[in-house]
Amino acid sequence: MIKAAAPLISQQGYYGEFGGRFIPEILYETFVALTVAYQEARCNPAFWQQYVATLANYSCRPTPLTYAEGLTRHFGGARIYIKREDLNHTGSHKLNNVLGQTLLAQRMGKRRIIAETGAGQHGVATATMAAKLGLECRIYMGAEDVERQYPNVFWMRQLGAEVIPVTSGTQTLKDAMNEALRDWSANMTTTHYLIGTACGPHPFPEMVAWFQSIIGQEARSQILTQTQQLPRAVYACVGGGSNAVGLFSGFLDDTAVELVGVEAGGQGIHTTHHAARLASNAASTGIAQGYKTQFLQTSDGQMQDTHSVAAGLDYVGISPILAHLTQIGRMRVAFALDTEVLAALRLTLQTEGLIPALESAHGFVQAFKEAPNYTAQDCIIINQSGRGDKDIFTIAEALQEPEWQRFLQQRAVQS
């Protein structure tokens, strides 16, 4: 049984200069209560046990650490291991955090859950746990994301959640997050706002990182069992940063292990179509959505449009924990272009029989670039944060698959 991870504890909500809690006063007492509940849970080993047991019984935990023989052979460098968060129920690491927070919300007597979602994975995970626990559920989702990710919207609704398309601003993740905060400001007594990544006001980054630390704890013990050694480097994509911080947490104290986060390079970091915050010079420190971090923003402090082929990486801020780890040099940040991501995805499909989510494939890109630099004595770990089934529309369109088009046209007529 894996023990509760020593979380990445903040200094009163801060990680170096990042983090904090910048919220409308109406939410003050709610945050105090949440912080107390979270800290009680954290100090209570029974809570973590319940968390792990529920994940084991309802989702796929521990998720395997799969040796990628084909990719290893292909690159001829480090032995490549893949952490299989794609096998979680609902298809991504998002469920870990959702399950943890819903357990907490239940303890706090909340009967209603709200959440923001971008790609829809966090929304589906939230709707799922809300259904399971009989909680009322509302999901805010940018109207543009509703259009792009309709299959996830369909499932959320089938799961009994109300999905509210958010039409303000860029109609994407950050606007959905704002809208959820507004809802919470009105309904905080009945409602828990279940933030989907290691962002937002304290204690969210710390709490989400704590729940996701199960990834890193498992991965560390698995790689030791399987190879009797630590990896040279571990790779994860970075949207808000929850899967990355989850994996990295397991190796934070192993200073020889490089932590590599991979952001969305989109169409290039010298264009305006990317979401590379730390890996480009485009971001600067700011305060929005309740916390301080590096944002892609104008000199006036207005948030900018972002882009990625992976809807889940298309976010304007980044976990304050990762901003800090990068600032102090503990973590390295790279970016992957949309085109590189599709190529890495195809290679992984055809070599390993794995379908990483487009988000996850960003981590694969960078690992593939670096694997040849190592020897067969070394190993590296890539976090497959989710499965790519959800991305069929995007991938098929990107590959311009003619039969897919025919298929859609036909179904559109039939249905």
Partner: protein, 257 residues
């Protein structure tokens, strides 16, 4: 003259003061001028100039759209300060406060922002996503520059928290009437009055009440419990739908019934 002194002075003659709102650059600068002229004509004593921000989490749909509209038409923070300087000079009898979000200050530089605000004739600032415990530098500089640091208290706050907020507040204390964001209507209740009474018992600061005030009845109801009734969203919306003259009549009618 400090903002609280101004308010106390005005309250000598009036049961209750009015504070209103405009979002700078929205729909256009000329509209801000017309709306402010109308409100001043109507006797409004205090006006919030909202510097637009792309992520206004404390605002409801109407002010949210106004913020985005203003940014879309190119409103810069520099523009906002120029406008503030122009308008405070034109209406020396009225007090103007800035309402904006913390990132705008942060990116401008807090010292720079506060100093520029003071130089522009601004009397104070309302920053709804800047809790006092995160605001040390801001408060210090505002004190230096004699700018009021207007914080919000809410019906959800404990007495202890209210006291803490009051300790950081100057100019006036802004009592949010209910949970939620700006723009939805508020049901006035005994609980509201009890809450205002509690705050009143803890401070000699003038009390403004806001969030959802729309009618003469609402304003009437606050007399005795508050010093200032704030009509924000409704004023912005009313101007957009009915124009400056109508807005003026609305604001005049709020205190005459």
């Amino acid at each position: 003259m400090h903002l609280d002194q101004f308010i106390h002075q005005q309250r000598q003659q009036k049961d209750i003061l009015l504070m209103s709102h405009t979002v700078l650059g929205y729909p256009a600068w000329e509209d801000n001028r017309k709306a402010i002229a109308a409100m001043v004509q109507a006797g409004v004593e205090l006006i919030e100039l909202q510097f637009p921000f792309s992520e206004p989490i404390a605002d409801g749909p109407i002010l949210l759209a106004a913020n985005h509209g203003a940014i879309q038409t190119g409103t810069s923070i520099q523009d906002c300060f120029h406008f503030a300087a122009e308008i405070t000079q034109r209406y020396p009898q009225t007090r103007f406060v800035i309402m904006t979000y913390v990132n705008i200050l942060f990116k401008y530089g807090i010292r720079n922002f506060v100093t520029t605000a003071a130089q522009s004739g601004i009397a104070g600032c309302i920053i709804p996503d800047l809790p006092p415990e995160q605001a040390a530098a801001y408060i210090t500089i505002c004190r230096e520059q004699s700018l009021a640091t207007i914080f919000l208290v809410t019906p959800e706050n404990s007495l202890q928290r209210i006291q803490q907020i009051i300790d950081y507040t100057s100019g006036l204390i802004y009592c949010v009437a209910r949970p939620g964001v700006t723009g939805q209507q508020t049901l006035f209740s005994t609980q509201l009055h009890q809450y205002l009474y509690r705050v009143h018992a803890m401070t000699s600061l003038p009390i403004a009440v806001g969030f959802g005030i729309q009618s003469a009845d609402d304003v009437q109801d606050l007399i005795g419990s508050a010093d200032i009734a704030t009509v924000g969203t409704y004023a912005v919306q009313y101007y957009c739908e009915h124009g400056a003259d109508a807005l003026q009549r609305l604001m005049q009618g709020l205190r005459t019934g």
